[in-house]
């Protein structure tokens, strides 16, 4: 996974609450059993004029030249609710997004972001609105700088906001770490747990009862 320490990029606002993962990538756009080939399906229901079509809907923000090369998404509350599909994060990532800033995230989506080197940054709704307003005046002239180590989002004017980030996701993002590798380093602890738990709760260990 590519580490994420800091990024300065154009941000695109999509400030609706409760944007669900089927809106981020409709199920019908998930056509293979892999993690790639998903960018074209990103926000397909809003981005294109007709379902399944590829004729851009000019009004949709991602189609507007003023937001070209956006790598940061500003969103409303409870972003990524609905289906657990990680394809939502893969599609955003393939499109180039590395950071989503929102007042809150659906729990599964939050975890999926971190697992894929994407930062879910929580800022109060008022801050997200302020950011969107400044950006909207001239997106290309107002790129945001997001610093994972300092946990800050900063405008070119120097105005800055601090976002919370617990140490586990922070370490994963900064180091581009693979969670499975990290956990396998604790194999002895896992084995010790299983050895004890097999005696205490034998009914959990199917196929070993007799």
């Amino acid at each position: 996974m590519t580490p994420l320490t800091s990024i300065t990029a154009v941000a695109v606002p999509l400030l609706l609450d409760n944007i669900d993962t089927d809106t981020i990538i409709p199920s019908r756009e998930i056509r293979s059993t892999g993690k790639t080939g998903l960018a074209a399906g990103l926000f397909a229901g809003w981005r294109y004029q007709a379902p399944g079509g590829r004729e851009p809907a000019p009004a949709f923000v991602l189609n507007q030249p003023r937001y070209a090369r956006a790598r940061i998404l500003l969103a409303g509350g409870n972003f990524g609710c609905g289906s657990s599909r990680e394809h939502a994060v893969w599609a955003l990532g393939e499109h180039g997004i590395r950071v989503v800033i929102a007042p809150s995230f659906a729990p599964i989506f939050f975890g999926n972001c971190v697992r894929n080197g994407m930062l879910p940054a929580v800022l109060p709704a008022a801050a997200v609105h302020d950011l969107a307003q400044v950006i909207d005046a001239d997106p290309q002239a107002n790129p945001l700088t997001v610093d994972v180590r300092a946990q800050t989002v900063t405008l070119p004017t120097g105005r800055s906001w601090h976002f919370p980030l617990e140490s586990e996701p922070k370490l994963m993002l900064l180091g581009g770490l693979d969670a499975i590798d990290l956990t396998l380093q604790m194999q002895q602890r896992i084995d010790a747990f299983l050895e004890r738990d097999r005696l205490e709760r034998p009914w959990i260990y199917l196929g070993t009862e007799r």
Partner: protein
């Protein structure tokens, strides 16, 4: 708001360290969630996160092949395939006489790849025409795979349904599924706790579905803020197991990490005798363990909410989030936002009752179990759906379907004008295949009414199975209580 981290939880952990093996029946002053969490901690990580042991993993064909394929590509194997399961439920065809062919374009590849990778990894697979096939959150409790006190994860957001057993069950992404398969654990941030006290009793004709929708409508789709939610109170104790599953199912629409209900006699009698449930001595030991899982009287929660269940009425959604719901006798709120109303073709102040529907759907992991089908059949008996209404029933599992047929319910559904399908997720969600006639207004026993959820432009109103049945008969959104009286 109270202090985080019940003191009793810490005591339980300390006791276990001191005593080596903990006494499984000890009471700790902790919460249901806290007790299950503590028992599964393999190692503490930073910031209150923990490496948690995962007892059960369930995959499905929509995403199973991604996780298993990626795991194999990384040269990793499944730690304990005997505790990992896979089912074909999401995109399988539900029309009679089905095979691997599915109406979703390219869907067959998902089915065959999932089959190949699941069998190669040694998982127990419930294949398309397996007699035990069904929606994972229906078959897992049915088969005794999900058990009280266990941790169970699946790459599906409605995994919290199984918290009704008193299990810690939650939905994860694909990468986390790989992690759980490879290590038998997950790195989990300890969620805040929320207890929802449901006082009073539900009135006649009002169901767990209405209760869940009323709660979400009152507090918003983000209301549970990622918490581990415990449903407690008189109204919950009075629910049967299947209704408890309906209630916990909706916690996903409330943005809870998971939902739980304390195991009681209702739970234990449901679990006993199920395929993978413990037997004989193991049963006694397990049952004693499960009985002490209920939150102790002194248990602390980060947040609490209370709702008087006796005030709840049948609910129906009017917008594109389950939070956008009102009583069936109510109206679209005057202050409703424009966008959902445009999608739904409604105006502020418009009455919901009497709104013509084009289709009616009974199915999904929310409301497709035998008790749901029985209640619907009781309303349908001797009646017929209105002209022009496409009515479809998809039993939640193949076992539910067989049991319903043994009771003759299928004949009642068919005589009333319902299609009677094979089990699966079917038209609960749209994967590019089957949908309703374009522009349809659908009354549905499912859990999500998002834009396009049941197909592009489809206008979904979610409601209880009773309300779906009454509306199908009337040809417009109807109050089921009028059918009974």
């Amino acid at each position: 708001m109270r202090d985080r981290g019940a003191p009793g939880d810490a005591r339980l952990a300390r006791d276990r360290e001191r005593d080596g093996a903990a006494d499984l029946t000890k009471s700790s002053g902790g919460s249901l969630f806290g007790k299950i969490w503590e028992r599964h901690v393999v190692a503490e990580l930073s910031d209150g996160a923990a490496l948690l042991a995962i007892d059960r993993i369930f995959l499905h064909e929509r995403t199973g092949a991604v996780a298993l394929g990626s795991l194999a590509a990384a040269g990793r194997r499944v730690l304990d395939p005997r505790r990992a399961f896979c089912v074909m439920d999401h995109i399988v065809d539900t029309r009679p006489g089905r095979g691997d062919r599915t109406l979703m374009p390219g869907g067959q590849a998902f089915i065959s790849e999932t089959r190949r990778t699941a069998l190669a990894a040694g998982l127990t697979l419930y294949d398309v025409n397996d007699p035990e096939q069904g929606i994972m959150h229906v078959i897992s409790p049915e088969l005794g795979i999900g058990l009280p006190g266990c941790t169970l994860v699946a790459p599906d957001s409605h995994t919290c349904t199984q918290g009704a057993l008193g299990a810690l069950a939650w939905g994860i992404g694909s990468s986390e599924a790989e992690h759980a398969l490879a290590t038998g654990t997950l790195r989990v941030r300890r969620p805040r706790s929320l207890r929802v006290n449901l006082t009073g009793r539900l009135a006649a004709g009002v169901t767990a579905k209405d209760l869940g929708l009323a709660l979400i409508a009152r507090h918003g789709a983000g209301g549970a803020k990622g918490c581990a939610l415990e449903f407690a109170g008189e109204a919950v104790a009075a629910l049967d197991m299947e209704a408890r599953m309906t209630l916990c199912n909706l916690a996903s629409e409330f943005s809870a990490m998971t939902a739980l209900i304390a195991p009681d006699d209702v739970t234990l009698s449901y679990v006993q005798g199920r395929r993978h449930a413990p037997r004989a001595d193991a049963w006694s030991k397990a049952a004693a363990h499960w009985r002490q899982l209920a939150s102790d009287p002194g248990a602390r929660f980060d947040e609490e909410l209370t709702l008087d269940a006796s005030t709840v009425e049948p609910m129906v959604s009017w917008g594109v989030s389950p939070a956008q719901s009102a009583t069936v006798t109510g109206v679209v709120p005057g202050a409703a936002p424009q966008r959902p109303l445009a999608y739904m073709g409604l105006r502020p102040g418009q009455a919901l009752r009497g709104l013509p529907v084009d289709a009616a759907f009974i199915g999904s992991c929310t409301n497709s179990r035998l008790s749901d089908l029985r209640r619907v059949a009781a309303l349908l008996a001797g009646r017929h759906v209105a002209r022009g209404v496409a009515a479809i029933c998809v039993p939640g599992s193949s076992a539910v379907k067989r049991a319903a047929e043994a009771e003759g319910l299928d004949r009642i559904f068919r005589a009333a004008g319902f299609e009677w399908r094979e089990s699966g997720c079917s038209m609960c969600f749209h994967a590019g295949g089957e949908s309703f006639r374009p522009g349809s207004r659908v009354i549905s026993s499912t859990n999500r009414n998002f834009e396009g959820r049941q197909g592009p432009g489809i206008r979904t109103h979610i409601a209880s199975p009773e309300t779906v049945a009454a509306s199908a008969i009337a040809g417009s959104i109807a109050d089921p209580r009028e059918l009974v009286s």
